[in-house]
């Protein structure tokens, strides 16, 4: 059975064999960087086509079906279109910040990739405070949005950015609390340890009702954090035309677009890691035969399967619900989600202390 970790080990050994350890590490870093960029591109293409197909089927349409087999290369054609388009900078804009903003959005998304465990023993950086790192870095993404909104010299952009600021700052809270509930149960901030703690069952099953509540809150909060409908107030095209990226065009717009999708992927990956056991296969009690079959499926497939399931959930929400109003959005957070998650974290802590989980 092949796995990513074996390939990684092979590369590591051969590099260390030929080069000095420092040089080998540098080369490894370059390889990882290239891989991340490659993953970015692939994720962007896959998620865009996935979103378009999901939306089309929900909307009783066919969706893209002209470019390539079943329209699978549609997003590639879109990328080419965006690349050859003129990237304009408005004359009144703060040019430096305006051009910097999309790269910050992208870099934040890239940094978030680091502690993710894509498969068994396959992780860029086994960070002992992985969860903390993720929630810290993901808050930085608001800076790129604020930067884009402010520097565009456009009132729509500014309003979109301000909405986004209020929204992300608020929803960080409940996202943090729901993540915390798993941390409390697992007793570690290390993502790898959290995954290992789910070997005998995923937290969403082991932690029963309180963790399910945190899972629901987590999904709502990350939908809001990534500015996806029904919380896409930063874009809200029927109100603010395109929100913070109204003035962006060409590749700079594409970078924002890419960063949005990659952010969706990352938060779903975190969700899958924390609640659905990451790359851990699905096991049921003592059904050894069944468990064995599940083990046979590569761990990377488990990880991506769970992640894409969560991504599909978020897409499903997007194409079903209307958008909230800004005050309702904040009401939802401060009046409903935050009290519930505060109460929930208390419950989870009690549960963890008393050992009332499976």
């Amino acid at each position: 059975m092949w796995s990513f970790s074996k390939i990684a080990d092979l590369v590591h050994q051969s590099l260390n064999h030929t080069f000095s350890p420092t040089l080998a590490t540098i080369i490894e870093m370059v390889i990882v960087g290239v891989c991340v960029i490659g993953l970015f591109a692939v994720l962007g293409l896959v998620l865009v086509i996935m979103e378009r197909k999901v939306s089309a089927w929900i909307q009783i349409r066919l969706g893209p079906n002209r470019v390539g087999p079943k329209g699978m290369f549609q997003s590639l054609a879109d990328t080419v279109k965006l690349l050859v388009k003129e990237g304009m900078t408005p004359s009144g804009a703060d040019k430096f910040l305006f051009n910097l903003a999309p790269y910050i959005a992208l870099i934040v998304a890239m940094l978030l990739m680091a502690p993710l465990a894509f498969a068994k023993d396959f992780q860029m950086w086994d960070l002992n405070i992985g969860v903390l790192y993720v929630s810290a870095i993901s808050s930085v993404s608001v800076i790129s949005i604020l930067m884009a909104g402010w520097s565009s010299n456009n009132k729509y952009s500014l309003m979109g950015a301000m909405r986004s600021g209020a929204q992300i700052v608020s929803y960080e809270l409940s996202a943090g609390f729901s993540v915390l509930s798993v941390v409390v149960l697992a007793g570690s901030l290390n993502l790898n340890t959290i995954i290992q703690s789910q070997a005998d069952g995923w937290w969403i099953f082991k932690g029963h009702i309180p963790v399910m509540i945190s899972f629901v809150i987590f999904i709502i909060a990350v939908t809001a954090e990534t500015n996806r409908a029904p919380f896409d107030l930063a874009e809200a095209e029927s109100e603010l035309t395109a929100g913070f990226h109204t003035e962006y065009s060409g590749m700079k717009f594409a970078l924002f677009f890419l960063a949005e999708y990659v952010n969706v992927f990352i938060v779903c990956a975190i969700g899958a890691t924390l609640f659905l056991g990451g790359w851990m296969p699905f096991h049921i009690g003592h059904w050894d035969g069944f468990n064995h079959v599940m083990d046979y499926i590569p761990s990377s497939i488990w990880f991506f399967g769970k992640t894409f399931f969560l991504i599909f959930l978020i897409m499903w929400f997007r194409w079903t619900f209307p958008r909230l109003r800004i005050d309702q959005l904040l009401n939802l957070e401060w009046k409903y989600l935050l009290p519930i998650s505060l109460f929930n974290i208390l419950l989870v802590t009690a549960m963890a202390i008393l050992g009332w989980y499976f």
Partner: protein, 371 residues
């Protein structure tokens, strides 16, 4: 309108919504004064699609001018044509055959449903739900197919002419309308599932854009906009034309006066229209589809006014005739123009996101406002 761009002395933000904006469904231009997210003032600037139809009609004969009116409120083209035909018939003093009357009412009601379905989809899209738009088009397309078969066009039919109709019904008409009614009854529940019952949607609509009954009357609102405020103003009931006085249907009234009330009025009206169609579809009398009229129509000297209920409200056609073959002056009292004037009053003090909900429930069709 350009001098107001920027900020006011009090530091309020002034933004231009439109003329190219996703929520204005056309070329409406609103200059909005904002304090943060709160609207302080909405000022419409019109004229981006003004074609001066009233002036054009002054040089067209009574048979010719009707086609232009399809381009006013293009979503209820039949009803516009109907209003003009009624007004000319009033001047000519002809009674049109009963078959033509029934067919006109049928077409009007089908148009009303089609218009409300488009509104429903567009309204949901304004609020950020994209899927209902496509679902609404599925049903609307069926109506368009029916229209295409009988009238030869899908949007600007020019089917109602002075003296009756341009052509008789297509033989398939009754069958296909019945099919449509079956489809409609099957799918109408989805509307409630997807939009009406949705908690986000209800929160977005309830208590938003309040218009009291007195204000609705004072602003000259009509149609579902006024009926959502509890003002009884259905021309079909109050001043019945054609066969409406012999039909059983209810005037849908809601008293809350908010956007949700206007929404519910339109949904209720769709059901009432289905009720009217069901009453008439099997009872189309035989006979001519056109009254005998002269080739060249000449209206006597005088003034004629006809009122009909379009999907958006009361459409008035006011013809001043000097006895010639063309109208001396023609005035279209369009429902959208008056309804739009209430927008500023409704929007003050609410959030920017609410403006979209309000414009959605006013069901603005810009060519109807500009004419």
């Amino acid at each position: 309108m350009v001098e107001e761009i920027g900020t006011t002395e009090e530091g309020d933000l002034i933004i231009n919504v439109g003329p190219q904006h996703p929520a204005t469904h056309g070329v409406l231009h609103l200059v909005i004064t904002l304090n943060g997210e709160t609207i302080k003032k909405v000022e419409p600037h019109l004229g981006y699609i003004h074609r001066s139809i009233e002036k054009m009609c002054e040089s067209l004969t009574y048979r010719q001018f009707i086609y232009v009116t399809s381009r006013m409120d293009y979503l209820s083209a039949h009803i516009n044509n109907h209003a003009c035909a009624l007004c000319v018939e009033k001047g000519l003093d002809v009674e049109i055959p009963r078959r033509a009357q029934v067919i006109r009412v049928l077409m009007d009601e089908l148009t009303r449903i089609a218009s409300h379905e488009l509104w429903w989809g567009a309204m949901a899209m304004d609020l950020g739900a994209f899927t209902p738009f496509f679902h609404a088009f599925r049903e609307r397309e069926t109506i368009n197919d029916i229209m295409e078969e009988t009238c030869g066009a899908r949007l600007t039919m020019n089917y109602m002419v002075p003296g009756g109709l341009m052509a008789d019904l297509h033989p398939n008409f009754q069958k296909r309308v019945k099919e449509f009614i079956t489809l409609y009854k099957l799918k109408i529940n989805e509307y409630a599932e997807l939009v009406t019952g949705n908690i986000i949607f209800q929160n977005r609509m309830k208590g938003v854009g309040y218009l009291s009954a007195e204000d609705a009357i004072s602003y000259g609102c009509s149609g579902p906009t006024a009926r959502g405020s509890g003002v009884s103003c259905d021309i079909r009931k109050l001043y019945p034309y054609e066969v409406y006085d012999k039909l059983e249907f209810d005037e849908v009234l809601e008293t809350e006066g908010d956007s949700f009330a206007r929404y519910m009025v339109r949904i209720g009206e769709m059901n009432q229209s289905i009720k009217i169609i069901e009453q008439l579809i099997d009872n189309i009398p035989d006979g001519d589809f056109q009254a005998k009229t002269k080739v060249v129509l000449k209206l006597p000297k005088g003034e004629f006014y006809s009122r009909v209920e379009t999907a958006r409200g009361e459409l008035g056609v006011y013809i001043v005739s000097e006895g010639g073959t063309t109208p001396y002056r023609i005035k279209f009292r369009s429902p959208g123009f008056s309804n739009l004037s209430a927008l500023d009053h409704m929007a003050r003090g609410s959030k920017l996101g609410d403006l979209v909900a309000m414009m959605g429930t006013l069901d603005l069709v810009i060519p109807d406002i500009d004419r």
